[in-house]
Symmetry: D2
Subunit: 441 residues, 4 copies
């Protein structure tokens, strides 16, 4: 298998629709890493290890030394935004990274200027901007994005391209007729069908060109039959949705732990305060709904109340996001979890996570870009469920329950890498270490 993976030769272009706090934090970080000014912490592809073989073999290489990924030095960044600021200016405004560090990579960041965005205020209520593509139809807009991608590829001498959505949360959309088939979707593009959101136009453009597309927001985007079908036709890896950071990350760590121990859950109250652009957008109920759906499903899918009604049949789960400017990009979550144990006795867990939104998200963008590029070279097309690990609301094959348990997601990811490279899958059975036993078995 691993013999058939194409080598990661030449440059990889990573384009992000949205050059705000997350994307600029990613780009500034990679440039700082290249200059040895910082470490790419939080990135599995750069810092993570993977165990191979038996425990006694002590094989624990870095993932980047195990699978053929693009090297950081071969990456070229670009993107689209509704504001005209270059990446240095945008990063300064985002106030995530200290000014001194930004100045250390100033020339690299200044060189990256956003392309005009596909944007429509009716999909993102609290946002505005004037660096926007104008065209008669959504089909024209899609073509303009395709042109952008190809021009960027040529101008930067890239051998491969990847798109990762780093834009805002759009209003809540249900799948509808226009999303059903490639034909209906393309007709919708031509007819300016309102069911086609800006993020779908980017996704379509990328997939049409065979360029992997990963969706970091809770928007539908590529999670519609039309684009799934197109991805198969064009051999394009796709995946989403909604970067798993902060409170939801904590939830997909804690909930499996409680379930592992068969501890019951009565209630889970989650409050968030954040003061960045994302917080402002989510203060609008229409945008929050999209996020809420993404956030609420997590517990249900982990606890599976239908198989365990005594323990999880009556959870009161509430999530609140509060715009609180003093926090800036320092998102803070507070969770109160009401659990019960032996004989129904009640206990409580309270978690206060003082996190940084973009700091947690940036390495996910990098990993998704590198892994989806790997998938492309390995010939894996369509939905990449093995990347569920990165998403609040993983896209899966129709009819398949998504897996939210971060530990099962990690095993899936790691066993996929082992499988790609011809290594044994790991089951943690380990009876062989106890020889007497194996004789019996």
């Amino acid at each position: 298998m691993h013999n058939t993976i194409e080598k990661a030769e030449g440059k990889l272009g990573i384009l992000t629709p949205g050059l705000g706090a997350v994307a600029t934090t990613l780009i500034a970080g990679v440039e700082a890493v290249k200059k040895n000014l910082a470490q790419p912490v939080g990135s599995l592809t750069q810092m993570g290890n993977i165990r191979l073989g038996k425990r006694t073999e002590n094989r624990n290489p870095k993932i980047k030394d195990f699978v053929p990924l693009a090297d950081l030095n071969d990456i070229v960044f670009g993107g689209w935004d509704v504001y005209n600021d270059n990446v240095f200016e945008a990063a300064l405004k985002a106030k995530v990274i200290e000014p001194m560090m930004l100045h250390a990579v100033k020339s690299e960041l200044e060189a990256i200027k956003p392309m005009k965005a596909v944007f429509d205020r009716s999909y993102v209520s609290n946002l505005d901007g004037d660096h926007i593509k104008q065209a008669a139809t959504k089909a024209d807009l899609a073509q303009m994005v395709m042109d952008d991608i190809e021009n960027f590829k040529e101008a930067n001498d890239c051998s491969r391209m990847v798109l990762v959505w780093c834009g805002s949360t759009e209003i809540y959309l249900e799948p509808s007729a226009a999303h059903e088939t490639i034909e209906s979707f393309e007709e919708g593009l031509r007819n300016n069908n309102p069911a086609i959101a800006p993020s779908m136009i980017y996704a379509y453009a990328a997939i049409k060109l065979g360029v992997p597309f990963m969706n970091g927001a809770p928007n539908l985007t590529c999670d519609i039959p039309a684009l799934i079908e197109l991805a198969k036709q064009t051999n394009t890896p796709i995946g989403g949705k909604d970067f798993k950071t902060g409170q939801t990350l904590m939830k997909t760590i804690l909930a499996p732990g409680l379930q592992a121990r068969a501890l019951g859950v009565k209630g889970w109250f989650s409050s968030n305060i954040l003061g960045n652009r994302d917080g402002y957008v989510l203060d609008h109920p229409d945008n929050f709904k999209t996020k809420e759906v993404s956030k609420l499903s997590v517990l249900e899918d982990i606890f599976q109340p239908e198989t365990n009604p005594e323990l999880y049949g009556d959870i009161y789960h509430k999530v609140r996001i509060n715009y609180y400017p003093p926090a800036g990009d320092n998102k803070e979550s507070w969770d109160n979890i009401d659990i019960f144990g032996w004989m129904g006795y009640q206990m409580q867990i309270k978690v206060n996570f003082l996190c940084r939104d973009s700091i947690l998200a940036a390495p996910l963008v990098l990993d998704l870009a590198l892994f989806s590029d790997l998938a492309k070279r390995a010939g894996m097309s369509g939905i990449q469920e093995w990347l569920s690990f990165y998403f609040k609301s993983p896209q899966t094959a129709p009819g398949l329950h998504p897996e939210h348990d971060i530990f099962k997601q990690l095993i899936k990811l790691q066993n996929t890498l082992r499988h790609l490279m011809g290594e044994d899958l790991i089951t943690h059975l380990g009876l062989e270490y106890y020889e007497d036993l194996t004789e019996v078995l």
Copy 2:
């Protein structure tokens, strides 16, 4: 394989050295469950499900319906204690379960009277008691325990017996010469060698009779070469040590989550307040040392700083246990975790767990009793690493790193059960759900 597992016919006697808060909470709970007054929450054997086959098969039986475990109605409880209180009296004093509930199972609890304990105050400084076996040598004491076990078995018409240590933490002991071989150990028994602690006498007695022995405290007990060898000779399952509850449970949930995401850790400060007998015993530095060793190793084994020095090479880990009477059995932990992410930016996680010590521990005793009885009937002898899930400091084959990650421990446990019953092991690879892909692969 599963055809060769002996059926769980007849009664199972569960004996606990120590009939304090944990054991009485277990016994009262099981009696309440039998009367439909409570649910055995927190017990995997009673409330847990196990997924079998592919996700699309939707097979998720309860574990107790999948593997042949002893039925709760077939269990008979007994034990030893340094106090003469019957289980009803002891449970009232422990103040874990409400008096009204205890009265509802009063006659069952009153019927259980402790056998005289093997006890020596020099191993548990802050404890006292007068319901104690007197004998010239430790060998005599061991014989008296063996007699107790056999008498109990006959008197209660049991077909099988199990021992689970529910006693206090003993002072810190290093493995020494007397622990090396069966011979040296038995000589030590005869010579009253001080290296042989009371808990070892119980373990020896059980293993000698082929009765499974599980160790719920951080004491060495059966984790010495002499008793491991004896267990092999007598085909006895053994395991330990230290029930994983409260703060350490939380640690083995959170730490794998941080590591999964390649987030760095700079410091982990853990404070505990508890006001029960256990808290009082641990307030003495000698006893705390035994506990501290058990608690500190957890992070190191999960983070493996040697393979990941940039992320985990410099963790400052401190654990404090504070005796605080107002808390009673309601142990409360507070953790501050200093982590760092992308480019080294720092974040903090603060966890406040308002838990109940004995409520968390009781179901572990039940599971360990039932699973070690299963192991015995399945012919699995010696160290049962697949039960690591239940222990703060899992006993493993010599030379093998213990696995502390609760999620790997759970997969190990579940895959062992699947293996015993002839089901496919689960790897979470799942590429088969994406047909196009499997053609390619």
Copy 3:
């Protein structure tokens, strides 16, 4: 002065509009105290001390031994409610006090049956009930309440009466023309003017009869010119509004502390979860608005941003109340306070208050009843600002800033009592203890 205070002879009737969680907790508690089953903790009149004279005199009597208050044995309780449950039934449903304790005072509680309430669903959206007075005009309803009061007084042989509002929060009302004068108000009663809320009808009835009226909800009620004027005419003590419990209590403790030290405040985020009837009512935006106004003003009045703009000119203050049924009556608050110190360096305070709403409120009702009865006997009429200590939003003379600092409120209350009894006021100057100094001064 204290020679002119009428003695507390005969029985005192305490009537509460609203016999829900708070009132039933009060009544059950007082009955339990009378039987020596519980202590009236949280009640200044019953448990509080007051220092008299110089520190070196060591005079620290209980307040109830210092000022002439009604004795608990002379109190008779009654009230109105929209449900027909007697106090025993209502207390059981409120789930604040354990059933066993309620049974110990069952006969006393069962004997108290609610009178029919003045109620209009358009003022309390989420509430319903069928135990309601019917009449053509609000004037008729007021007369019916007056009859209730006088009948109760006669039937129970009371020498004095007091009313304390323990009902729900009504929708937000601005003061309007009907509230301006006694005449316009009485005309409004006759014309069924919608500006006159049910709580005002109770207040009018009490004040008209010269019966002290205290308002425990954030409703306008007696805080309108018409009723203030009427209170002067009838020599009636009045006061309000909104019992100071839980998070706001904590705020009026912490905020003065920060201000004392000239520490700056950038933001204060307050989240609440509660699951009782009050939480359900406040989940409706109309009712929450009344509460929000009451809650938000606290910080502004304490910090006085106009005199200290550098420290308090830019506070972002947000209060959220979330209905969360698992909490029941156990209200829980979480506050994040962003402060700054020397040179602007930022710090944070996080307070998690696991409180019980009705347990905190009940003693306030008792104190307000006893103190307003004292005021009546001392000839103090109109607004009782010295009782600000008990209110989230203290009623003051027109044009006077309310004092929210709980410590200034306490000194005001204590110095008022000292003044009434002819004791020296305390200024904490205390230079006389340092004799050399006083010579100099």
Copy 4:
């Protein structure tokens, strides 16, 4: 009175024994304030207001505009330390203030070089240093300090001097014979009596010269009869001890609030983590004992269990300080407070204070320097109890209970200032605003 206060003319020299984190933070801050680069937040003398007259007068001047204090521009800093670093170097090492800010005041800080310290390692176990005075007797050392003070005064053209102790916590000392009289103390100096700690030598030198001395550590220092007597003889203001910051500050805010409401307290558990030099020193049990005594007395003095045994007679109070290097100067406290209310129902308050030790302490040094200089000019000599506000363990006249309630301390301070300036003392009685009432009264 205020006419007799000497004007604050000429320069004021502020000398600190100890030029570590606290003192350098103070000095750097004052220099930054002078350049308009920062605000002196947390300093009552600089940022605080004081209400004068009736509420309706709206007189709320800044304290510095009300009483005649030394101007920041007239201050000259100096000090002693066991390390030879100048203030710029020491501030860099302390890591409290950002390097960029320190560079902005570099020349001012570099100019301040420590004088050699009086130091003896047997009083501060975990500390070392080589910039130390050598002399045959403690009397000689005292003379050398007096010479230092006078030389500094002359060299810097100061009209007045003040000393504020900013050094480490010394080991626990009980008052003994050498501390009894001026004569025994001076004999002890000559005989090198071990009961005389280094901090006492500084205090003696200052007081002997009539220079105000304030003690910021929990050491006995000037709280001994000999130095109190000397202060009277030389007309010197003295005060102490232990700057009230962090957790104890929070305690003296919260405890009075609970007591105000007659809420009972069962337990108070206080844990601290800090990673600076202070934390390291306090990790040694001998030094911690001095601190513990200072910290534990707070609650007892506020709650006065003897007058309120039902509420406060059985408090379990425990304080732990843990050295935790990842925290640096960012001290963090976690408090769990077990309270009970109406009928004994239990509630909990949990406070997590993410504070900065030196940021909280620095403005206290400034205020104590300015106020003790004011006291000197106003002819107030001996113990300055009105400055209790600043201390964990206020020094009072013999036989007088110290007042720990921060709100009473503040009123004492403010009324002292009003008294000095001939303004009415404030009692918060305020009955005059309710005219009808005053007629009655």
